[in-house]
């Protein structure tokens, strides 16, 4: 009888397609908004998350989140190194600077300065080797920047990707591209340029304080809490673990921007409108088929069988709509490579969206089921 139940639903093409389309639309919008939100969150903390092998980030005490850079004096590195329990500490710069291309175009880029000796915090290289950063005037450029706003003037006219050996100017300082790396797309979508910390000091306009962060590795037997307390109490700096810094940065972003509200509203509207349409259509299907269910009831279909039939119909269209919607989002993400941020369709997001869509299907099915279970089989004679 379950195959009959499915044929009853699928045979009513208009309603069947309408329900599947509504649920697919709901899934697509919620998943797309969710993927966007995750991408925004990731881009907020990606700078912290991608640097591995350290135990703590030390910043100015007033620095609330990763991009709230309140520069410190270079001496801060030496003072942190003097704290008991610290194995090593290196400087890290993060700021922006204007890059000028040979054809005169100027582009603001995000400049990262790594410790000259260790290159701690280096990106994942796609072209060139990390050691090439030690070549005079060397920089690394992210692939998206090299392909996009830092595209180089081609000899034959037009533009080509910036590549190893190309030169440009950073604040009137001559630099050479020695490698490219894969950088996570950020919300700001500006090109990212890596060089060494000492070179940064030459490139950026003269400032008394340039140091953005101190990256710290603890000794194996060091007490993390004790080191943090010491840095705070005696150096008047703020030390946070990678997880803490990432979480606090994300929390600041959520609290101080309207991103959750905006994306959440869009997802809620998708859930309400798409789910409402699907629910009402499924309910109408139940109303339209009330007599058919009454006939089945008269002919001896038990209540539990009717429940199974409605559950199968509800679950079937729900999963079909969900599958189409998720497929649509996945296709959108795969095809839309030029997006300013990397959309992320995580398993947890897929699971959450599935739960929401199943909730819509369950609500619609429950309303319809209520009608079906209250059917009086005697209506077949009326």
């Amino acid at each position: 009888m379950l195959s009959i139940a499915w044929k009853m639903l699928a045979g009513d093409r208009a309603k069947y397609l309408s329900i599947v389309f509504s649920l697919a639309f709901t899934t697509l919008l919620i998943a797309q908004q969710g993927a966007t939100l995750i991408a925004i969150f990731r881009s907020t903390t990606t700078f912290v998350d991608q640097i591995n092998g350290i135990d703590m980030w030390v910043t100015d005490p007033k620095s609330e989140y990763v991009d709230d850079i309140k520069s410190m004096d270079d001496m801060a590195v030496y003072r942190v190194r003097s704290v008991p329990g610290v194995a090593w500490a290196v400087p890290l710069y993060k700021g922006s600077i204007r890059a000028r291309l040979p054809d005169g175009r100027a582009q603001t880029v995000q400049l990262i300065g790594l410790d000259d000796a260790t290159l701690i915090g280096a990106p994942r290289m796609t072209v060139g080797a990390l050691r090439d950063l030690r070549v005079a005037d060397a920089i690394f450029v992210d692939e998206d920047g090299a392909h996009g706003s830092l595209a180089y003037p081609a000899a034959s006219g037009g533009q080509r990707d910036l590549t190893v050996g190309d030169t440009l100017e950073l604040n009137d300082h001559h630099v050479v591209v020695m490698g490219k790396f894969h950088g996570e797309k950020t919300f700001a979508s500006t090109p990212i340029v890596y060089t060494t910390y000492d070179r940064v000091k030459a490139f950026v306009p003269a400032e008394r304080k340039l140091l953005s962060y101190v990256l710290v590795k603890l000794k194996p037997d060091a007490d993390l809490a004790q080191v943090k307390a010491t840095i705070s109490q005696y150096l008047n700096l703020r030390a946070r673990t990678k997880a803490e810094f990432s979480a606090e940065s994300l929390r600041w972003f959520i609290v101080n921007t309207g991103v959750i509200l905006n994306v959440g509203l869009s997802a809620l509207m998708a859930f309400t409108i798409g789910g409402g349409i699907a629910g009402m259509t499924f309910y109408n299907f139940m109303l339209d088929n009330q007599r058919q269910f009454a006939v089945l009831r008269a002919m001896g279909a038990s209540r539990s069988l009717l429940v199974q039939m409605v559950v199968l119909q509800g679950l079937g269209v729900t999963l079909l709509g969900f599958g189409c919607g998720i497929g649509g989002v996945a296709s959108f993400i795969l095809l839309n490579t030029s997006s300013s941020i990397d959309l992320h369709l995580t398993w947890s997001l897929i699971g959450s969206v599935c739960a929401m869509v199943v909730l819509v299907g369950t609500a619609a099915g429950s309303l319809g089921l209520r009608r079906v279970l209250h059917i009086d089989p005697a209506v077949v004679f009326k």
């Binding site: 044929k7 006939v295 002919m299 209540r303 004679f381």
Partner: protein, 248 residues
């Protein structure tokens, strides 16, 4: 089957035995009695017509006999089983196993093919789809619609749809078939064809048939006619046979 003493002292097995059936409906203007203490016996393999003016209680009576409506009072015994003593679930199972239905508006499921419609009673009894499909093919051939198995009901004429409904009613070999106005939507010739088909299948399979009808043109297909008025059976008689009766 129930055996009841007859006037001559012989016994005739009964398919349906109704005693003191009463049923009232609540309406905006008060309680309206639909049945007022109906006593009715239907013999095994008999074709009984329930006739009478609109609102006399025919549909209520057939609904109670078929077990889809509960009376306010009285007993409704089908093949020795008192339906009013059964739980709702047991009554549903009893209907599934023992009763076939044919309705005035056919009540075929429009989204399904003719074959799928016909096999439903077998699927409800737990038969596997291929078995039910094969049986449906045989049943459709028996009603002359073997070549229409893959069509949808909307592609058939009214008479053909009623034949499909009859095939559905008979496919699981029920002991009792109840028909509500099976010919009212059909022209005379088609109505006669449908009744001949119904009688033939009933005769061949030893099924009891109860037909609610207004259609006097088909009265001579009945073995007996129970005439109702105002919630009572006012007479039970044999039909006046016309020449060329379709009875087998």
């Amino acid at each position: 089957m129930t055996a009841v003493a007859q006037d001559a002292g012989a016994t005739i097995s009964m398919s349906v035995m109704c005693r003191g059936l009463s049923k009232s409906y609540r309406t905006l203007v008060g309680t309206v009695p639909a049945l007022r203490g109906i006593d009715l016996d239907v013999r095994a393999r008999e074709v009984l017509f329930l006739v009478g003016p609109s609102g006399c209680g025919k549909t209520t009576l057939i609904s109670i006999i078929a077990g889809v409506l509960r009376p306010d009072a009285g007993r409704n015994v089908l093949f020795g089983t008192d339906l009013e003593a059964l739980s709702p679930a047991a009554a549903t199972a009893f209907r599934r196993d023992n009763i076939g239905f044919a309705f005035q508006s056919y009540n075929l499921i429009p989204q399904l093919t003719v074959q799928d419609n016909v096999m439903i009673p077998l699927l409800l009894k737990g038969k596997h789809y291929p078995v039910a499909a094969t049986a449906a093919g045989v049943a459709l051939t028996a009603v002359g619609l073997g070549q229409h198995a893959e069509k949808h009901p909307s592609e058939l004429s009214g008479g053909q749809q009623q034949r499909v409904a009859i095939a559905r009613a008979f496919i699981h070999s029920p002991k009792l078939i109840v028909c509500d106005e099976p010919t009212s939507a059909l022209d005379h010739t088609t109505g006669q064809d449908v009744m001949r088909l119904l009688r033939g299948l009933t005769h061949d399979r030893g099924t009891t048939l109860i037909v609610v009808t207004h259609d006097q043109r088909i009265y001579d297909h009945a073995d007996r006619i129970a005439e109702m008025d105002d919630g009572r059976i006012v007479s039970i008689r044999e039909p006046v046979r016309s020449t060329g009766r379709g009875q087998q």
